[in-house]
Symmetry: C2
Subunit: 463 residues, 2 copies
Amino acid sequence: MGIVKLTMKRYLNNQLVEMVGEKVMVKGWVNSVRKHGSVVFADIRDRTGLLQVVGGKELATLSNEYVVEMTGKVNKRNEKYYNSDMETGKIELELLNLNILSKSRDLPFDIRKPDLDVSLPIMLDYRNASLRNKKVSDIFILQAEIVKAFREYMWANSFTEFQAPTIVATATEGGSQVFPVEYFDHKVYLSQSPQFYKQIMVSIYERVFTLAHAYRAEPSMTTRHLTEYTGMDVEMGFIDSWMDVLLMADDLVKHIFKSVSKNCSKILKEYDIDVPKTTKTTPIVKLSEAQQIIFDRTKRDIRGEPDLDPEGEREICKWAEEEKQSEIVFISHFPTKKRPWYTYQDPENKQETLSFDLIGRGVEWITGGQRIHDYDELVTNIKKMGANPDDFEIPYLQAFKYGMPPEGGFCIGLERITQNIMGLENVRQATLYPRDMERVDVRLSTISQAKNDKKSKKKKLNK
Amino acid sequence: MGIVKLTMKRYLNNQLVEMVGEKVMVKGWVNSVRKHGSVVFADIRDRTGLLQVVGGKELATLSNEYVVEMTGKVNKRNEKYYNSDMETGKIELELLNLNILSKSRDLPFDIRKPDLDVSLPIMLDYRNASLRNKKVSDIFILQAEIVKAFREYMWANSFTEFQAPTIVATATEGGSQVFPVEYFDHKVYLSQSPQFYKQIMVSIYERVFTLAHAYRAEPSMTTRHLTEYTGMDVEMGFIDSWMDVLLMADDLVKHIFKSVSKNCSKILKEYDIDVPKTTKTTPIVKLSEAQQIIFDRTKRDIRGEPDLDPEGEREICKWAEEEKQSEIVFISHFPTKKRPWYTYQDPENKQETLSFDLIGRGVEWITGGQRIHDYDELVTNIKKMGANPDDFEIPYLQAFKYGMPPEGGFCIGLERITQNIMGLENVRQATLYPRDMERVDVRLSTISQAKNDKKSKKKKLNK
């Protein structure tokens, strides 16, 4: 079979800026149609932005979101019609030929306003429509940049990427907030994090990372929690101390800020926000110190508590910004009883762990720390929490049995870092298709209804 | 808190080649210990390879897989002891100081032989031990290179990466091979592929990719199937024809071969294999043509069958290699009745679809094709299979309602492409922690046993 292309080459809208006078083909969505007597203007949207097309009555047959292919001549606009908001604001396409590739029904709401004027539930009910709004779709362009920056940093620092399984035989870290899976004749679970696997991998590759989906059966509807989220997980061996881990997290997050700032400057401007201000040395305060600072500043006494409350997180961020000129701050030395059983204790004070959170703009961004690498110590801790070490032998404890270097790591929630960089109110806005106890694309209340209504039909489909 | 590093800088083994005469610190695992009277040699393994250390009786206290930190002086070896198999074969470290970071129990089998002499089930029962074998761990170094090459290619061709959810409300493509998840009071499912989401994303970003875990409840134990696998998924809009999709897949896979060939040459040599031979124009044959070729060559008649059988796949690969000097070949135009309901039909013959598989070395590597982008046609097809279009409205059909360009895409199974490039017998070898109907890290037969034995203990843990 021969491979012959008879069609014209498609140009992207922003490529036309340099092509005045040429005849070209473009493709995209109809973003708007404006009639001025017998002259009709249409803005055509492609992945590079908008292009103004000018033509006659054939353009008037178009509706918003129609998918079209157009040939035309690239003209310079009259100077008084320059539009500085558009990359293609000095040119327009004079329509020669129009081909409708696909039509559109009416949209459920106006997607052309810069800010969508609908509630979050409606935005999610009509996810495809809301994503056609530029500000909404830009969220995930910026998210893709975060992921890219993450990977590039890891590769540059000789970390090996690996794939962690998400179906697991036991609840990862204990706790009841797991989703059971019907697995042939067995009950297995969705992984709460790739924690065990990334630790194991240190015994093989020293430095590893993964982008892994993780699942938490949290029966709550806060603005910060999802039942399925994406973790950017990092783990590294042969550390001299937990500070190696913290400094790696610090350097990575600054690299992400830098990449986003450089490559998504227009999106940040559109959201009227910037990446967090940082300083060469990010402030690090022990939890107990942070609580003292909060007490000194506000007289609110949360000293002795095992964590910062949301108000405390906001206050310590205010302190870091005012006193240290940094919008991010590390809180360290969380109490042993509040951190998972594999967390490394401070040899100088066994009540505290060599662990940290990075917080910024009033919320947590990263959590990490050094882990116990001694087999016997892990076995002791598992027994202490009333569990059976045999249940952790495969695959976890094996790795420690055969020689594990001192190690630690951290996790950055992808949706949360997107939310926090962009200043979004709800983590669901930073999630393409957020899952929570009320929604799995459809609202779950609807699904139960539907299931009862059409049980027989469903059965057919599943055959 | 101050950040003071009192420890010496760690060097990697392969960095010492250029450091003869210097005093350095290295860290790693004890790979072997050899006593020659009062002189003792130990090979230390780190992520860059082996290093010979020479010392006295303190080295004799070490056992295999101990994790150590050593300072010593880098010496040139006597020429007659050069070892050309080691990157550090012309040097050795004269031990000055030894620090044991972590001890090891005895390994379940010898991991130092180039080829592990144990069955696959034992390899997986002791996954951490088997991964400490160089040839085994190299599989996942090569796999990481595949993933890296995939992403770099996608980025370079302006594809946007996105995160597809894996918890879904309905079985993706119909069919019963899905895992149900107990989701609060509802039953939801693990996604069989990110198919729907990547298609939807085309209506927003035109060109998208994702690396997504996918789940198939296949109750079979073949050498090619996993219940959880990783798909490298690609989808692109504004195609002129299905050939755009095929050519993108072809170019991507050649890019992956090139990257692996360049960056993993030592691993390929170790496995005594090379990436598949390709030609500028990869052969493309219709399924019916392929069946005719097979009949002509072997007199085995599978003409009219809806697919190639394994023997047919091997034969057509032989043909492609012998007649077209290509170890990969595209099979196209699979019958409409055997492809999913969203597959685009050939306008010239509605019994066939504009779909393709890439096969090589006798097995399938990639599957893809053009999709239906017309809303009404999709609705018709959903009804035809006896399902209710309402169940597909959110999130899938919405995207087509509001204008979808002509589009198509493909998926490359990460474990399979790793297996096929490296010539591994079983896809489980190319999977860090393979899941199948008999194993989720532990053998499931054991888990049921354990569950019956310790029901009360389990309950405690899950609280």
